[in-house]
Symmetry: C2
Subunit: 374 residues, 2 copies
């Protein structure tokens, strides 16, 4: 598309960090959960990628809205909504968790925070999980309050993240384990701070639970950045694809099940837990899936952005589709993610990518995350 | 915001009309239901407004996604989801219908099409009604299939709409009543064509139920435009505000009930029908609402776009907030929509608008739709 100006309105909600990303020259946005997601600050994805892998970035990911379950039946409802076994989860843990409907179709892939035995946040990708959870709670007469709280995640990503946040929250930051969170003090509040985030470069997500403190939190992190080459940033498409971080709405939709999406390890299908979609997933598992998400590395010079699925072909037969693509400086080639059919999903399989500029590009299937010998 | 470039991805879905709006120079987009909504073609809202009120426009409103209910319990589920009495609805009728949760909070305000006694489409505003409906059907064990079908509305709006569509579908177009639809032939299909749309200038919405025919349908309408000054267009903010057409996510959210939103006449609260939220709305009705959506006409020269709620003040007390605003050529003043508290919602009440450029602007409350003596 030549011109893609976003016409804003109140419906496309601002985050509490908006004034700060504007001041820092935000140039691009996406919309996730009816909320603005900064997607660029005037530099190339390639430069942002190098920076993210070297230094530290502050990301306004307030669009990762929370669906809060609280009450006697909160744990029951949380488990009903995911194939991931939450039964032995501890307070302070985060769980990456597929959510599926009764047919096993993906509804979202949140990170679930267990705040207390009767208190959970689902930190969601782009679909209104709130409506799904509210309707279940209502119709099943569960004793649980389901709301969207005033919580706005701020991510700190990159190898220097820990050093940055030690300056804000103190040495306790270093003790937070991967996919664990602790409540750390900020301005009279105790904010859950998790070692997590939508990159593979290490980092944290701060769950600010009071939007009136957004600018103060941003400023505290920003001001702590002296000497660390801190920059504003955002999820980087190159790093995400290379790292095999799938995106709901791009690599997968309701048409897909979690077994196709590399989430087998998050699906407890032995019947020891009950959730919506269990029997559908058991059946799919028994039959075996016919496609899986794979990486593809392909040449032909920097490709255009992927605005519709690109066919993957072997001998002119369509064997899959790419859903996200970009030029990778690391591989000196394009990288992509997409569904590849069973007969051709082995790593190293040679495929032809038909990009939307009409070119036929030679590529090969890779495992995920992509590695230097991919 | 200075720069607001939209970074696209497959997640922000294209409609079947995309190639055509691109060819015609689409310059601005919004996102509704995870789908691109063209919002401008390079001209000012003021010029588009004059054109819409004089001629005819073709609007890509494929983002008005459909939630289909089909099966034995479809009518039961449809009624559960809205306070509007659907019991005596006839096949071929459209119903503007608030949807509420168990607290009476607005979830959406779709147009419901009754396609058959056991077959409904909810043509939705910006929230995932599909997840709400699916969860209710699942948890209440209803015999109904809930899906998002391959349906992509195309709107024809403006005073010459009927003349345009007669050229495409024949004279039967003239017989379609307001908020009625007929199935009319196009390329071997029978498409529901309704006299409806998100303007007050008259027009139709064509419910294309096969995305592969998107370009053919657009072209058929476009080619029929000779001599009618046909242009591509989109919902026009000036016309929408003057006409009192509220927007879910802007004027109202889950925080609001339909009685605040001018939808009393669509709420059957006498207990003759059962729906989710009935008792909550009965209680609200008994207590009386404390605020309502009103128009405000205000001066001070063309105002900036409204990206956050603007306070309305009387004697320095906040008495409401504007959620949508723009300069109106018709009133030679700014117009806005927003919630106004009970003590000050009478038409003619003088208020001060605090716009986000910091100006204090004199205004007065108006009824909706705004009239020339507003």
């Amino acid at each position: 598309m030549a011109a893609t100006k976003l016409q804003t309105s109140i419906r496309l909600r601002a985050t509490p960090y908006k004034s700060r990303v504007e001041r820092l020259g935000v140039s691009d946005f996406s919309i996730v959960n009816h909320t603005l997601l900064p997607k660029g600050f005037g530099d190339t994805q390639q430069n942002d990628y190098v920076h993210l892998k070297t230094h530290v970035q502050l990301w306004d990911v307030g669009c990762q809205r929370q669906v809060e379950l609280r009450g006697v039946d909160a744990a029951h409802l949380a488990q009903l909504m995911t194939p991931r076994d939450l039964t032995n989860g501890k307070v302070g843990q985060c769980f990456y968790a597929p959510m599926v409907d009764e047919f096993g179709g993906m509804l979202n892939d949140p990170v679930i925070l267990k705040l207390a035995e009767d208190h959970f946040w689902f930190s969601i990708a782009d679909s209104d999980v709130l409506l799904w959870a509210k309707a279940l709670a209502y119709a099943l007469k569960l004793d649980v309050a389901v709301v969207e709280p005033d919580v706005w995640p701020l991510a700190v990503q990159g190898p220097k993240s820990e050093d940055l946040l030690v300056r804000v929250f103190g040495e306790e930051i270093r003790e937070i384990g991967f996919f664990r969170f602790r409540r750390l003090p900020f301005k009279e509040r105790l904010l859950p701070v998790a070692r997590s985030g939508y990159s593979k470069q290490g980092g944290f997500e701060i769950y600010l639970d009071d939007s009136s403190l957004g600018e103060a939190l941003w400023d505290a992190c920003w001001d702590a950045g002296a000497g660390l080459s801190l920059r504003p940033g955002c999820p980087n498409l190159i790093e995400r694809i290379e790292g095999g971080l799938v995106s709901y709405g791009n690599e997968m939709t309701r048409e897909n099940n979690p077994l196709e999406c590399g989430m087998e390890k998050y699906c407890q299908l032995d019947g020891s837990i009950e959730f919506i979609g269990l029997s559908a997933l058991q059946k799919i598992q028994k039959q075996g899936v016919q496609q899986k998400i794979r990486g593809v590395i392909f040449d032909g010079g920097p490709c255009p952005p992927c605005s519709r699925p690109w066919p993957l072909k072997v001998n002119n037969d369509e064997v899959g589709k790419l859903s996200s693509t970009i030029w990778s400086p690391r591989f000196n080639a394009n990288v992509g993610l997409g569904m590849v059919s069973k007969m051709h999903w082995s790593c190293g399989t040679e495929v032809t990518v038909i990009s939307e500029d009409g070119l036929r590009r030679s590529g090969r299937v890779t495992s995920l995350p992509m590695s230097d010998n991919s």
